[in-house]
């Protein structure tokens, strides 16, 4: 599955176009990460725990979007966009969406 955040896949032609596909996941962090984050807020630096968490969640959202694209018979998703939003205290929704197409 080819992913692109351009409106096209460079060097290829879009021949069929199927519609919008998306993948999302809602993740919460656990107490341990919260505690470490609290400490880091005192000394500064990267919150590695959160970086990892959100990275994993994003990978999963992308995987789901790819799955949806496969289910409509596409071989590429173009104009991929991400959206992160807070849906509850300490939890975030990771959302990836794009247009499923067939390129040649």
């Amino acid at each position: 599955m080819i992913l692109s955040n351009l409106e096209e896949v460079p060097g290829r032609q879009i021949v069929e176009f199927y519609g919008v596909v998306s993948g999302s996941t809602v993740r919460a962090k656990h107490i341990g990460r919260d505690f470490m984050a609290g400490l880091k807020n005192l000394v500064g630096g990267e919150l590695k725990g959160y970086t990892e968490l959100l990275h994993e969640a994003r990978e999963e959202a992308l995987a789901r979007m790819t799955q949806q694209a496969q289910s409509v018979g596409a071989n590429a998703v173009v104009n991929v966009r991400f959206s992160t939003s807070s849906v509850a205290q300490g939890a975030a929704e990771l959302f990836a969406y794009g247009t499923a197409v067939r390129v040649e």
């Binding site: 519609g19 998306s22 409509v72």
Partner: protein, 268 residues
């Protein structure tokens, strides 16, 4: 480019497991975690309790529960009660506390052992006791709790549990339920602690009167009455089954050769 609109598979973004099964698993996991935490807290408090010196405990207690002078009409009863407690406590030669008794203005018959050597009895208990001996047994039982430092352990567990929960950010709404449960669990004594307190109460009774008549009668009365209509509901709910305790008492008295019959003194 040709437009061929198609509906994607919508199961991709939906969970595959049943929500109730998932919820059940989650709750079970959190409960297990909670129990583990509770056990860890109980164990660590156990270690600390024996290390706390008595005078520190007394000092802390006087700061937390400033002494309240009894009112004039209670003064006579209070004096008699104080004398009774001190007389009973003479059966405990190693007693490090200066035992003080306070009467709580409450109708429910109950008695508490508070840190620092404070024995709290309710007016209800004084009124419902049919003999001095019965009252003496209850007081002896509370003194037994002091000997085992049970009151400290319970309070310490409750407090520490609350503290741990608060530090991990759990404290609002439904999760607070867990905290309150932890505190209540901390305030009620374990079976073994109760048994030990009963045993000590029996010893003190024997030492003071020469027989243990008060204990026998107390449990007979409690055990024979219907639990719903008994005059001591609170006392029962915070302590184990009275029938079991009665059996334990009879067994112990037989072992030690204490008489469960004897002359009873009138109530206070």
């Amino acid at each position: 480019m040709e437009a061929k609109p198609r509906l994607p598979d919508d199961r991709v973004n939906l969970p595959s497991s049943h929500p109730l099964a998932d919820a059940g698993q989650l709750i079970a996991f959190v409960v297990a975690l909670g129990l583990l935490l509770f056990a860890a807290v109980a164990y660590s408090v156990e270690l600390v309790v024996w290390l706390l010196p008595h005078d520190t405990e007394v000092r802390l207690a006087h700061e937390l529960w400033p002494a309240e002078e009894p009112t004039a009409d209670d003064a006579e009863r209070h004096e008699k009660l104080q004398a009774l407690v001190e007389a009973l406590a003479s059966g405990w030669p190693d007693n490090p506390y200066r035992l003080q008794v306070r009467i709580a203005r409450e109708e429910q018959p109950n008695a508490f052992a508070l840190p620092g050597g404070l024995v709290l009895v309710t007016e209800g208990l004084l009124d419902s006791a049919e003999s001095e001996n019965e009252l003496a047994f209850v007081l002896g039982h509370e003194i037994g709790h002091f000997r085992g430092r049970d009151h400290l352990r319970g309070l310490g567990q409750g407090l520490l549990f609350q503290l741990v929960l608060a530090s991990i950010g759990v404290g609002g709404g439904d999760i607070r339920l867990l905290g309150d449960t932890g505190l209540i669990a901390g305030l009620s004594f374990s079976r073994d602690q109760e048994r030990a307190a009963d045993r000590f109460g029996l010893e003190l009774l024997q030492h003071h009167y020469g027989h243990a008549a008060g204990a026998g009668i107390f449990f007979e009365r409690v055990a024979s009455s219907d639990p719903v209509h008994t005059s001591m509901p609170t006392f029962i709910s915070t302590h184990p089954d009275p029938r079991e305790r009665a059996a334990e008492i009879r067994k112990l008295a037989a072992q030690r050769g204490y008489r469960l019959q004897g002359r009873l003194r009138p109530p206070l």
